[in-house]
Each structure stands twice: as structure tokens, then as C-alpha cells.
């Protein structure tokens, strides 16, 4: 074929030119973000932004980082991985931000692996808890960090808490059919096995389903007394109503997907639902956290904790921005590679946990929050409180 040499030449040329223009440039003092601002999960992006902006305001008010004011460049990915990648490139190549924050969905984070590697752009997740976001099958993760929970660590925690509340020790798994829910299954199964616990049934539900009675009947018939739950407020509400229909009341021990909205919609039915997380804005707060809450209320016209539907996510995001700022100071310039290396040096006392250091060089410890900072929260009188402020036990 006569075309072949021509194409070969063209390719070779393109590679040559590309390597010429590949020289590193200083990044801008901006924090990029790709999360959902429209659609059914729009509140996830919008609410995390509250915490991020408040943190950035604090830092800028104190003189910024390395004498520069930080700016936020947030884009909507509509929950679609390909758009998240579009946004990452926009942040990395057009805006030339020094770092990027992640959003709600695990698949969107997984889709970013390659592009982040190619751009050499540090990424910090603040919600999506999928294990594979940080622990890549390749065994290598240079650029992705997280200040949130990790499903592989959450699972043993949830199983342990559920078993403690099931007199017979028989527990069930009930999860949403999404990347997050499905991704958690192996972790939960492994955790149950490790703890010698019988997982009597596994059931799934679809996003936006409104009637889970059939699954609950099967869980009941299997004898599950406590349920490890992966899902979010809307479906949890449907499940509580379905439980009410058939008068079946196992204890629900949920991963962090449930936020404050459940108390609003399910009312009394939410009483006693347990949720794992890193933080709650309800109840008595330490002074620094109270100040953050006040700042968010002030700036975004919030009524109070009831408007913060992702309590852990917002708190994580707040800490993440501060960790980034510290790391930049350590790096000494707006350089992505130096920022990444500085992440391993950062020590910071956040509102969620004490990060000492924030990250370590093992892939496993690209997660800043370790299981000892995981907490259980419980719904009581329609609000989600730290467990020890409720009648449902202590952490």
C-alpha cells in the first residue's frame, strides 16, 4: 500500500513536534473541579462548593498561598465520565490549574486515571469512595489522592457495626446498582468472611426505584436482622417506607451515601438509621468547625446543618483545600510535581481528623482519612447526629 509510508511519516512528525512542545510550564494558582451541577445529583457539586469556597476564602483572607490568591474553576460533568475527562483536560491544559478536586461519582474518578497521568495533574477526591479510585489494578497511582472514606476500609467497619446490632449475627447486604454499590460488594463479602460473619442475603435496587418491598421480604425471609446498606437518601427513604409496609425493622447500617435529606423526607421513619461517615454538622461542634458552619451559613444563606446534605463530603472538602494549601507552601511554587511530592509531607489538623502526615507513598495511603477517623452517626428526631449524642449507643 502506497499510503503506508506517508502515514508513517506523518505519525513520526507528529510525535517529534509534540515532544518539542512538551516542556513544563508553571501552573496557575487555581483549583479545578469537575462535579455535578445539573441533574438529579446537582446538589452534590453545589454543596461541596460551599465548603471549598469557604476554605479558599479563609486562605485568601490570610494572604493566599505563596502570595497568590487561590481561585476555583468548577465545571459540570453531568455525571458522565467522558465529560469529567473533558473537564479535567480543560482544568489541566487550558486553565493550567495546579490541582483538581473530584466529585460524587466513582466511575467519573476512575475515568480520570489516564488523563491525569498524561497531564501530570494531582487530583484530590473528596467524596467518591470507590476503592479503585485510589488503588489501581496496575499497582501504580502517581496522581490521585483522596480525603474521604475508602470502601475497602468502610466495609469491615460497617460489617462490624451491623453484626453488633444483630442478635443472631445474621446480616444482609442491600446496595444500589451503581458503580459505587457494585464496587463495594467484594469488599463487604471479604470483610464478612474475615470476621466470620454470615451474609445471609444480598439484594440490589435501582436508582429512582420507589418500592423495595419485594427485596425486603426476601431479606426478612432470609432472617437478616441488620442490613449493610449502600445507597443515598432518596432510595433509603423508599426502603424505610417499604419496611413500614411489611413491618420489618432491621437496623440499617449505611455507608456515607445517606445525608441529611433522609430526615426531611422520611421523618419519624428515619429514627435509628445508622450512617458511617467522617463528620456531622449537627449537634455540638468544636469551635473551628462551628466557625466553618457559620461562614457557610453566612455566605450561602443556609438555614443550618439541615441544608448541608453531604455532611462528610463538605467537611472532607474543607480539609482537602487546606491540605492542598499547606502542600503548596511546602512545594514553594505552583508546580504540580512538587505539589504531589509535598502531599507526603503535609501535616494538618483538620476538622475531620488529624492528618499526620496527610498521605504516604504507598498506594493504599493515598487516602488521607484512615479507618480510625471513621464514625457512626444516627438519625434521631429527624437529624443526623454523632452516635454519642443519640440514644443508639456510642462510637
Amino acid at each position: 500500500m502506497t499510503l503506508t509510508p506517508t502515514l508513517r511519516g506523518l505519525f513520526a512528525a507528529s510525535v517529534a513536534v509534540a515532544s518539542l512542545s512538551g516542556a513544563a510550564k508553571a501552573a496557575q494558582p487555581c483549583i479545578g473541579a469537575s462535579w455535578e451541577l445539573t441533574g438529579a445529583l446537582a446538589h452534590t457539586g453545589l454543596q461541596i462548593r460551599y465548603a471549598v469556597e469557604v476554605a479558599i476564602d479563609e486562605i485568601n483572607a490570610a494572604g493566599g498561598v505563596l502570595g497568590e490568591q487561590l481561585v476555583l474553576r468548577a465545571y459540570d460533568d453531568q455525571g458522565e465520565p467522558a465529560r469529567a475527562v473533558d473537564n479535567a483536560l480543560r482544568i489541566g491544559e487550558q486553565d493550567e490549574c495546579v490541582v483538581m478536586l473530584g466529585g460524587f461519582r466513582t466511575p467519573n474518578a476512575i475515568a480520570l486515571r489516564e488523563p491525569l497521568d498524561e497531564m501530570g495533574l494531582p487530583w484530590v477526591g473528596v467524596i467518591s469512595a470507590g476503592t479503585r479510585v485510589i488503588e489501581h489494578e496496575t499497582g501504580e497511582n502517581e496522581w490521585m489522592f483522596r480525603v474521604s472514606m475508602k470502601d475497602r476500609w468502610v466495609a469491615p467497619f460497617l460489617v462490624e457495626q451491623a453484626v453488633a446490632r444483630a442478635p443472631s449475627g445474621r446480616i444482609g447486604l442491600f446496595y444500589e446498582a451503581t458503580g459505587w454499590g457494585q464496587g463495594a460488594v467484594p469488599d463487604v463479602v471479604a470483610a464478612a468472611e474475615a470476621q466470620g460473619v454470615e451474609l445471609v442475603a444480598q439484594e440490589t435496587f435501582n436508582i429512582a426505584d420507589t418500592d423495595m418491598t419485594a427485596q425486603l421480604i426476601r431479606l426478612r425471609d432470609a432472617g437478616a436482622e441488620a442490613l449493610v446498606f449502600y445507597g443515598v437518601d432518596r432510595e433509603a427513604d423508599a426502603i424505610l417506607r417499604s419496611m413500614e409496609r411489611i413491618d420489618y425493622r432491621p437496623t440499617i447500617v449505611s455507608a456515607w451515601g445517606i445525608g441529611g435529606q433522609l430526615g426531611n423526607t422520611a421523618g419519624a421513619l428515619s429514627e435509628g438509621v445508622l450512617v458511617a461517615g467522617t463528620f456531622s454538622w449537627w449537634g455540638e461542634l468544636e469551635p473551628r468547625a462551628q466557625a466553618v458552619l457559620d461562614a457557610m451559613k453566612e455566605r450561602f444563606n443556609l438555614a443550618g446543618p439541615q441544608d448541608l446534605l453531604l455532611p462528610s463530603g463538605t467537611a472532607n472538602a474543607y480539609d482537602a483545600v487546606h491540605i492542598i494549601a499547606r502542600a503548596l507552601e511546602i512545594a514553594g511554587e505552583f508546580d504540580r510535581e512538587k505539589l504531589r511530592d509535598a502531599f507526603y509531607e503535609v501535616r494538618h489538623e483538620g476538622i475531620v481528623a488529624v492528618f499526620d502526615p496527610a498521605f504516604e507513598r504507598t498506594m493504599e495511603r493515598h487516602d488521607a482519612i484512615t479507618p480510625d477517623a471513621y464514625r457512626l452517626f444516627a438519625f434521631h428526631n429527624g437529624v443526623m447526629l454523632p452516635l454519642d449524642q443519640t440514644p443508639f449507643g456510642t462510637n
Binding site: L7, V15, V17, G39, A42, A111
Partner: protein, 618 residues
């Protein structure tokens, strides 16, 4: 003025490929940072989507079928490529080919429903298909990774180069995608402006007329679905190589809507529409990010606005505007007709050994439920004769024509054509056997040109296959040129040569009738059925029509004529059969029929007025 499609495609291709090929090197020439990997990725994404939309345009704009599940076909290709690369270690080229072929097969399966249902029913089936596909992807975790998707897909290689999308490692993927986009664009042109594309568009505009010209509607729909799916599969495989991660979320219902929107917004059925539509819609979604939580609203508003203002799409409206200007600029000349030219000897050839009867009906009967529309009709038409079939409204004339042309299946009786039994064949088979027809309410392919209309009539006489046609092999070119010559000769014959590139739907009515006859003649028929050809014509036009029919009969063509204009029947026919209430009430030469009291009664009512009664008595 009108731009020829060939020129438009050539220009777009030349300029487009040059600009896009140069784009990555923009900053090397002009300095600055443009384009960053972000901008290049956006261009890549637009190019990939444009390939899907070109495919969808073949389906929607070509075959007139709506698919609201195209994202699933795109996703199918993406997943085939991803799974083969990830699990079977396939390289770029083999996984791409497998994705195209696999998706084409799915397309063939999807075509099946279109045979039975269409319109909104077909749309529902394609919606359901898309939803099932997404559901399966999400739930078959062990195979597709579920919502976590397939990650870590290895980069493919072409000519030993890793396919890279951006600055860091070169632009090889960019050029590969550009190549395939250009290919898809060219194939769209060679398809749409080939006999297959014409036949496809013909089935969309009038199933009946297409069938009557021997074009199998089922085959054309299947072809359209298969090709459309192939494009989607190709784009899917390219997307996989760009994203290196696939999960179902990219291929959901909203994406199908967006593809359809791109198609309609650009202008369904136009060559440039898919490109324009994809660019506009995609950039709109990027630019509308400025509206933050209002962006979806802004998108909907933009969409509604464009659909209101430009229902034909951007390119379609522009073309219509160009055409409207063109119409004012040039007056076309209607030539005298019929105009016999020597070229026509190749098209209309006399029979060598004509049998005694060209058409023979025996006891032909048609029942609809309890109603007998045609009752034991016998009729024999001699070769080269003009045989008229007349009768009052509702007498069953059209039913007879519809049975002979295969649109209705006779309840009883037989139809013999040139001595061969052809009873109960379908319309395309009747066309193949040599029966051509026109329709009472002219069924032209309105959005096609006059010349294209006639060329559809030649569909069954081509020999070049699909591949030869798409790559414009010499044989296909030669054949196309021959058909064009013969079609032009036919237009000459009916005096419409000067209108060849005019839209058929824009012709004055009389010209539409002539065109329909020319198109029917393109089949090289042995029997021509004319269903009320004079309805709506002026006196002068009817006289011309009479001459045309006589010329055709002299050339040995048998003609069965259904007509109300009795003066015309008397002038043109050799034999007249009169139907009333589905029964033959008289049959004979026109002069006899004219004074037959039964005929007068059938037309006038039994209380014949004085004049008629007197005539009858004479």
C-alpha cells in the same frame, strides 16, 4: 444557484481536512497556547460524535427511520472494542473491525422491527433497545464491569505508533480519527448519491412508489440500519481508544436524544448537516457551562428555538434558501413532448416474439371483509395495445390496477403476464416481472431531483454491488453514467430535460404527471399501468399525453389505462372495458362503448336525461 453535492463534498473535505490536519500545529506556526490538549480532545470528541451522527443521518435523512437508541449502538461498538482489547489482547485494527462488524449485526437485528412497525412505534422499540442495552451493561458486572466500567484499556497501535490524543505523545489518534471522519463523510456522499441512497430515500418518501419500481423496502431499511450501525460501531471503537475507559453512563437515552438532535438540527438528509449539527450542539453544551445550574434549561431553550425557527435544520434551511433564490434566477424551459430520441431505443425495446395476450385476467376477484370490490373480472390486453378500464367512482378500477401491480393480493382468479402466471406476487416482484405503474395521486419522491426520480426507476437494472458502489469502482461509475444518460433521454422524451436538477415536489402538477410516467418507463416495463394520468391536466396537456401513449404503444408497450376523461379514452384506446360495482358490464372498441346504454346508465344514472335517452334509442 445551487451547489452540486459533489462540489460541496469536495470543498468541505478539502478545506475541512486541511484545517483539521493543521490544527494541532497551530501554536507552532502562530505561537500561543492554542490548541491545548483540552481543545484537541474537544475536537476529537466532536469528530467521533460526528461519525455517529453521519450514520444516523443515513437512517433518518436517508431511510426516514427514527432511532432513539443510537447511543446504544455507539456503546456496543465501544464495548466490543474495549473488551477485545482488554480481555483478548486485540490490537487497534482488529478490535475496530470487530466493533464495526458486531454493531452492524446488531443493526441488522434492529432493522427487523422496522419491517413491521414505523414512526412512533419504531421509536419506542429503539428506545426500549437502548434501555435494555444500558441495563445489561450495568448489571453484567463480571463482563462489563458494571457501573465501574472497563478501565485500563491499553492504547492501541497503528503502524507501530501508540495512539495518542494529545501534545505529550503526539497526535496519532487525532489523525486516525480525522481519517475515519473523512472516510465516513465520503461514504455518506457515495452512498446517498448512489442507487442505494436514492432507493433508500425513495422508500422514505413513498413506500408504494418505491415498491412499484422494484425497490424492496425491507432490504433498503435493513441496509440503512446496518450501515448506520456500522458508523456508530466505528465511532464507538474510536471513543474507546480515546477514553481508555468505558461504562454505560456515556451511552444512555439522553445521548441518543442528543444524537438525534444533532442530526435534525444540522438538517436531516443533507450531507453537511451531521457536521454542522454535531459541532453546534456539542459546543453549545460546552459554552452553556457558563449558565451553571441553568445550563440544561438554556440548552432546552436553544433547542426549542432552533426547531421552531428552522424545522429543516441549519443546513436544510440554508439549502432551501439557496434553492428559493435559484428558482427566481432561472426560468426553465418545458420542451415539446413526447420527444422520441434514438437513445430511447435502449430503454424501450419492442418484444421479440409477442404472445397473443400481454396481460390476461381470469376471474379476478377481490374481497375486503364481506365487500366484493372486484367480482370475477376477465380481461385480455394485446401486446402493444392501449386498453382502457373505465367505470364510475367506486367501480373497482383501482383495485384491479392494485392487484396487477402486486399491492393487493387477489382473493380469487389469476393474472398472467406475457403468458406467465404472476398471481399474488408482491409489488417489487411484479415490477421485476415487467409491470410499471403510475399512481392516481402522483407519488413522486418529492425531495429528490427530477433526474434522481427517474434514476430510482433503474434500480433493478444495476449490476454493481454495494461495495463497488460505495468505493465508486469503475464498473459502478460506468453504470451510473449509462443510467444517467438513459434517464436524461427519458426526461427528454417527456420534455423535462431542462428540469433535471429541480426538486420533483416543486414541479407544476402537469410536469409531475409526466415525470411519473418517465420514471415508470425506466423500469423497462412490458406492461404500463396508468391510473388516471389525465386527472388535473389541462386540455393541451391531455392531448400531449394521448400522443405519448400512442408512441409507447407503437413501440410495442402494452398499456392499461384507468381514466375518467372519456374524451381521452375515446381518442387513445384500442379497447375499452367498463366496470360497475366490480363487474365487467361492457367490453369492446371505444366507438361501441360510447353508445352502450349500460355504460350511459352507469355514468348518468338510470333516469337518463332526455338527450341520453334519445341517443340510446338511436
Amino acid at each position: 444557484m445551487t451547489v452540486s453535492p459533489r462540489l460541496a463534498v469536495g470543498l468541505t473535505l478539502g478545506i475541512g481536512v486541511a484545517v483539521l490536519a493543521f490544527l494541532p500545529y497551530w501554536s507552532d506556526v502562530f505561537g500561543g497556547r492554542f490548541p491545548t490538549s483540552f481543545e484537541l480532545r474537544i475536537v476529537l470528541r466532536v469528530m467521533i460524535m460526528a461519525i455517529v451522527v453521519i450514520g444516523l443521518n443515513v437512517l433518518v435523512g436517508g431511510a426516514g427511520l427514527v432511532s432513539l437508541g443510537h447511543a446504544a449502538l455507539y456503546g456496543f461498538g465501544a464495548h466490543v472494542a474495549a473488551l477485545l482489547a482488554l480481555r483478548a489482547g486485540f490490537g487497534f485494527a482488529p478490535s475496530l473491525v470487530a466493533a464495526v462488524l458486531g454493531t452492524a449485526l446488531v443493526g441488522a437485528a434492529l432493522a427487523y422491527p422496522s419491517v413491521r412497525v414505523r414512526g412512533v412505534y419504531l421509536a419506542v422499540i429503539t428506545i426500549a433497545f437502548g434501555l435494555v442495552f444500558v441495563n445489561v451493561l450495568r448489571e453484567w458486572v463480571s463482563f462489563t464491569g458494571g457501573a465501574s466500567g472497563l478501565a485500563g484499556i491499553p492504547r492501541g497501535e497503528v503502524f507501530g505508533q501508540r495512539l495518542s490524543p494529545g501534545r505529550r505523545d503526539g497526535f496519532s489518534l487525532y489523525y486516525v480519527v480525522l481519517f475515519f471522519l473523512a472516510l465516513a463523510f465520503v461514504l455518506q456522499y457515495t452512498l446517498m448519491y448512489s442507487r442505494f441512497g436514492r432507493a433508500m430515500r425513495a422508500t422514505a418518501m413513498s413506500e408504494n412508489a418505491a415498491q412499484a419500481l422494484g425497490v424492496s423496502v425491507i432490504r433498503m431499511r435493513t441496509l440503512a440500519f446496518v450501515l448506520s450501525a456500522s458508523f456508530a460501531g466505528l465511532a464507538g471503537a474510536l471513543f474507546t481508544n480515546l477514553a481508555l475507559f468505558v461504562n454505560y453512563e456515556t451511552f444512555q437515552f439522553t445521548q441518543s436524544i442528543q444524537f438525534l438532535l444533532m442530526t435534525i438540527l444540522g438538517g436531516a438528509g443533507t450531507l453537511l448537516g451531521p457536521l454542522v449539527g454535531t459541532i453546534v450542539v456539542f459546543f453549545a453544551t460546552v459554552l452553556l457551562q457558563a449558565f451553571e445550574e441553568w445550563q440544561t434549561f438554556a440548552f432546552g431553550a436553544l433547542l426549542a428555538l432552533v426547531l421552531f425557527v428552522m424545522p429543516k435544520g441549519i443546513v436544510g434551511s440554508f439549502e432551501a434558501w439557496l434553492a428559493s433564490r435559484g428558482a427566481k434566477q432561472r426560468m426553465r424551459e418545458t420542451a415539446e413532448w413526447p420527444h422520441w430520441t434514438p437513445e430511447l431505443n435502449a430503454v424501450i425495446q419492442p418484444l421479440e416474439n409477442p404472445p397473443a395476450a400481454a396481460l390476461e385476467l381470469r376471474g379476478l376477484t377481490l374481497r375486503f371483509g364481506g365487500l366484493v370490490a372486484v367480482n370475477k373480472v376477465d380481461l385480455a390486453a394485446k401486446p402493444g395495445a392501449v386498453h382502457a378500464l373505465i367505470g364510475p367512482n367506486g367501480a373497482g378500477k383501482s383495485s384491479v390496477i392494485n392487484m396487477i401491480s402486486g399491492f393487493y393480493t387477489p382473493s380469487e382468479g389469476s393474472i398472467r403476464l406475457l403468458g406467465q402466471d404472476v398471481t399474488a406476487r408482491d409489488s417489487a416482484a411484479m415490477a421485476a416481472a415487467g409491470v410499471a405503474r403510475t399512481f392516481q395521486n402522483t407519488e413522486l419522491f418529492g425531495a429528490m431531483t427530477v433526474l434522481e426520480n427517474v434514476m430510482v426507476g433503474f434500480h433493478t437494472r444495476y449490476e454493481a454491488n454495494l461495495i463497488q458502489t460505495l468505493i465508486r469502482a469503475p464498473r459502478a461509475r460506468w453504470e451510473e453514467a449509462r443510467v444517467r444518460r438513459e434517464a436524461e433521454a427519458l426526461l427528454d422524451f417527456v420534455g423535462l430535460r431542462d428540469y433535471a436538477d429541480e426538486r420533483a415536489g416543486a414541479l407544476p402538477f402537469g410536469h409531475q404527471r409526466r415525470l411519473e410516467i418517465a420514471r415508470a418507463l425506466a423500469l423497462q416495463p412490458r406492461l404500463l399501468l396508468l391510473d388516471e394520468p389525465a386527472a388535473g391536466l389541462t386540455h393541451g396537456e391531455i392531448e400531449d399525453l394521448v400522443r405519448l401513449i400512442r408512441v409507447l404503444a407503437e413501440k410495442g408497450l402494452t398499456i392499461l389505462l384507468v381514466e375518467h376523461h372519456v374524451d381521452m379514452i375515446m381518442a387513445v384506446s384500442d379497447h375499452v372495458t367498463v366496470l360497475d360495482y366490480g363487474v365487467v358490464i361492457a367490453s369492446g372498441p371505444p366507438s361501441e362503448i360510447q353508445d352502450d346504454p349500460r355504460v350511459i346508465e352507469a355514468y348518468f344514472g338510470h333516469a337518463a336525461p332526455g338527450a341520453a335517452a334519445r341517443k340510446a334509442a338511436e
